[in-house]
């Protein structure tokens, strides 16, 4: 197992946002975590990426315990984040944003190669490499966010609600690219509100509701059950 989280508990004072969450991601797998809004999906991703402190539980990446790793060194372990809402650096150009992605020393030496790969995956960005990130459209920004994370040469890519605010056609394109990234050997943990795409692409899936994992397994099996419909539509 490349990535293991066990009994994870993250709170903000008051009721914990997620409690007793355990999940795995294997080498080269795409694992989706779906659930309605407020279920705790972003909290989960942010805790793994080192943006949030977590209170209980363990996280291991390739056997290394991430509890004692300071936030700015999490990336060096091989995790890269595509944050919710993109969170690009708006005053910097596309290429500058990508350069921040390969800030860590091991990634820096492979910059030329990473950049070429990014522009091949997202040809639109090559034309707009000098454009300010804040002036791009939503779909283009999402591409930059994904490319920026890839520049870090990660073993595990964290995707936090990539389809948020994007038109369906763009979402479809984006998921095609995610499939290509998986083929290049990167494991992916995808957190999504959009059930359709998330389940279509996943090798395995978890359903998160009110901070707890309520179901897990193969996507087709989960879809056939009414659990998801209940969680989302309350019916």
């Amino acid at each position: 197992m490349l990535f293991e989280a066990r009994n994870l508990c993250v709170g903000y004072g008051g009721a914990p946002a997620i409690s007793d969450v355990s999940l795995d991601v294997g080498e080269g797998e795409i694992v989706s975590v779906i659930g309605p809004n407020g279920a705790g999906k972003s909290t989960l991703i942010n805790a793994i990426a080192g943006l949030l402190d977590w209170q209980e539980g363990t996280i291991h990446l390739a056997g290394i315990d991430l509890k004692s790793v300071p936030p700015h060194l999490v990336c060096a372990q091989g995790i890269a984040l595509v944050p919710e809402g993109r969170r690009l650096f708006p005053g910097m150009s596309v290429e500058e944003n990508l350069d921040i992605g390969c800030y860590r020393p091991e990634a820096r030496s492979r910059r030329a190669e990473s950049l070429e790969r990014a522009y091949t995956l997202f040809p639109v960005l090559r034309e707009r490499r000098g454009q300010l990130a804040g002036t791009l459209s939503g779909g283009q920004q999402q591409m930059v966010a994904i490319a920026r994370a890839l520049m870090a040469q990660p073993r595990l890519l964290l995707l936090d609600e990539p389809s948020l605010g994007l038109a369906p056609a763009i979402v479809a394109d984006m998921f095609r690219v995610i499939r290509v990234i998986q083929e290049e050997g990167v494991a992916i943990l995808l957190v999504e509100q959009n059930v359709g795409q998330a389940m279509e692409i996943a090798d395995r899936a978890y359903v998160l509701e009110e901070g707890k994992i309520v179901a897990s397994g193969l996507p087709q099996v989960l879809l056939a059950q009414s659990r998801i419909r209940e969680a989302y539509l309350g019916l």
Binding site: Y12, G14, A15, N37, G165, Q193, V195, G196, I228, G234
Partner: protein
């Protein structure tokens, strides 16, 4: 109460008598002058604090208004022969007018808070100084007031000046005391903690800030007038010196800027430190020492000395300390007797084709919906669909770009948020935004006063009732930071309810609660509606939405895509597609 106040009143009276008598005694002139300086700084610091300490708008430009007063008196007395005592109210008025003018322009601009307001006030000071220096008002040579006549009290002009100084200090303290205990003072403290929330709760923020600024400036102007004859030779350099800008800030922060008496305390201590020690080159070091003291205070004791003093006072004189007993709650009559069924009257609230955008993003695209009297309307939609924006537009925090919002027949789109609150629309915040320096009780009482129109006296009883209703009775005298998240969410609810709104907008009031708490909250919401309040509630927890709502409105990408009963909307093809993707839409 008056029996308890008597010793305090007697003590004050005695102090006043002693101080007034000083110049009539043989006390050396040096000490009389020193006392004058103490009064001077008490007045300056106390007046500065009325806006800056109470409302949190730190002004670095008190000197501008002081200087206006100085030169008004100097010019009127010397060039126009106006009797000196008459120049004082004119100086006060001119300074207040300048303060009001600056405030009128500056307070409209939302971004000019904090450091930018400080910068703005420094700039105004330098501009005023330059204008005075380059025009015949001063012209660079200064103004001599030696020959200006002044009535002699106790047989000397110096005594008159001393008494004028004492009068200014007393007046400043009286005004600060009055503001502190008034409705306006309550509003200013709310502005300090969270101006946007204060506005939405019904505090007329612009008007209050303007009034506080004008009052503060006016006092400084009067003090300046007296100062002009004290020094008898005024120059631009000395009038607009950095000390005049800095000392009120230091003294207020040192003494405690959240209390009306704090600045006076700080003024006494700092003045003794400054002038009590040697003059000459050492004096400069003392100035540096005062500045160093400011650093220490800001870092280690940000609330100043006053709170510790208050604690000592409370321990020494427990009978004088404010009571900690919860006021007798007044029973709240339901607004409309048991309006349990949704009637088919004209809608209470209508949004007609509402558009709102930020930069290039359209957050609301032509949203049209109506809310019926007495109904619970669920407002749902994925992240970024515009739910929060819609709430902010309805409550007046954002102005709509196009379209109209009509409340009970009145268009409210152009009204300031505090007016809308007073008309009967209240909201709770998803992430609680209480006034952190006010107790739980005062948080709720404020909403009762400004949103609900209660009197000060009735407000506390009203607040006590709503705290009981939401289960927070035992927390009435705690500060928001001392209660947990669940309690803070209920504080939000109590605060919104205390305004006795006709429409209550709840923003994700259930998030972060556990199952038991959620069930409690849901029961509460139904009860609130039963008492006659119409409710719009934004929620992600679908089971709650389905159970509570009479109708549900679904937003996606800024547009309304469905409006109907929970059953209708949750089975609507469009809605299912939006939430679950194409695969599920069958």
């Amino acid at each position: 109460m008056s029996a308890v106040r008597l010793p305090v009143k007697l003590g004050l009276g005695l102090l006043a008598a002693i101080l007034i008598a000083v110049p009539a005694t043989n006390v050396p002139a040096y000490y009389v002058a020193f006392l004058y300086l103490v009064f001077f700084w008490i007045a300056m610091a106390t007046s500065w604090n009325i806006l800056s300490g109470f409302a949190g708008y730190w002004s670095f430009g008190h000197a501008a208004f002081f200087g206006t007063g100085v030169y008004t008196s100097a010019t009127l007395a010397t060039k126009f022969g106006v009797p000196f005592l008459l120049t004082l109210p004119i100086a006060a008025l001119l300074a207040a007018a300048l303060g009001a003018a600056v405030g009128f322009v500056v307070f409209r601009i939302q971004r000019l808070r904090g450091e930018l307001f400080a910068l703005m006030t420094i700039s105004v000071t330098f501009v005023v100084a330059t204008i005075i220096s380059n025009t015949p008002i001063d012209g660079g040579s200064g103004v001599y007031l030696i020959s200006v006549a002044l009535p002699e009290i106790f047989g000397s002009q110096n005594a008159t000046i001393y008494l004028l100084g004492l009068f200014m200090a007393a007046a400043a303290l009286a005004l600060a005391y009055w503001v502190y205990h008034s409705r306006m003072g309550r509003g200013l403290f709310a502005i300090h903690d969270d101006e946007d929330v204060a506005e939405v709760k019904g505090v007329p923020t612009f008007r209050y800030k303007l009034a506080a600024f004008a009052l503060s400036s006016g006092i400084a102007g009067a003090v300046g007038g007296v100062y002009s004859i004290y020094v008898s030779y005024v120059t631009v350099g000395e009038t607009f010196e950095i000390t005049v800008i800095m000392y009120p800030v230091v003294m207020s922060i040192f003494g405690g800027s959240r209390h009306w008496l704090g600045p006076a305390l700080g003024a006494v201590i700092v003045t003794i430190a400054l002038y009590g020690f040697a003059a000459g080159p050492q004096a400069i070091l003392v100035r540096g020492g005062v500045a160093f003291g400011l650093i220490v205070i800001v870092l280690l004791l940000p609330t100043g000395v006053m709170p510790s003093l208050q604690r000592c006072w409370a321990r020494l004189f427990p009978s004088l300390a404010p009571g900690r007993a919860l006021p007798e709650p007044r029973a709240a009559e339901p607004r409309v007797p048991h309006a349990a069924s949704v009637t088919a009257l004209a809608p209470l609230l209508e949004c007609r084709d509402v558009w709102k955008g930020f930069g290039g993003v359209q957050a609301l695209k032509g949203v049209t919906l109506d809310v019926r009297q007495g109904e619970i309307l669920g407002l749902v939609g994925p992240n970024g669909s515009g739910k929060s924006t819609l709430i902010n537009v309805i409550t007046g925090h954002f102005k709509l770009d196009d379209g109209a919002v009509v409340f009970d027949g009145t268009p409210i789109g152009a009204l300031p948020a505090h007016r809308i609150a007073q008309l009967g629309i209240a909201r709770s915040y998803q992430i609680p935004r209480p006034f952190n320096h006010l107790t739980v009780l005062d948080n709720v009482a404020l909403a009762a006063v400004f949103g609900g129109g209660s009197s000060e006296a009735a407000a506390r009883r009203e607040a006590s009732y709503w705290l009981g209703y939401t289960g927070l009775g035992g927390r009435a005298f705690h500060l928001p930071e001392q209660i947990n998240l669940h309690e803070r969410k209920f504080l939000e609810l109590a605060r919104a309810l205390a305004a006795r709104p006709r429409i209550l907008l709840l923003d994700e009031v259930l998030s972060g609660l556990n199952n038991t708490e959620i069930d409690e909250a849901m029961k509460l919401i139904l009860d609130i509606r039963a008492r006659g309040t119409t409710i719009i509630f934004v929620e992600h927890l679908m089971r709650a939405v389905n159970k509570l709502s009479d109708r549900v409105a679904v937003l996606n990408g800024g547009a309304l895509i469905a409006l109907g009963t929970p059953d209708e909307t949750m089975n609507d093809q469009e809605v299912v597609k939006v939430y679950l993707g194409k695969a599920h839409a069958v």
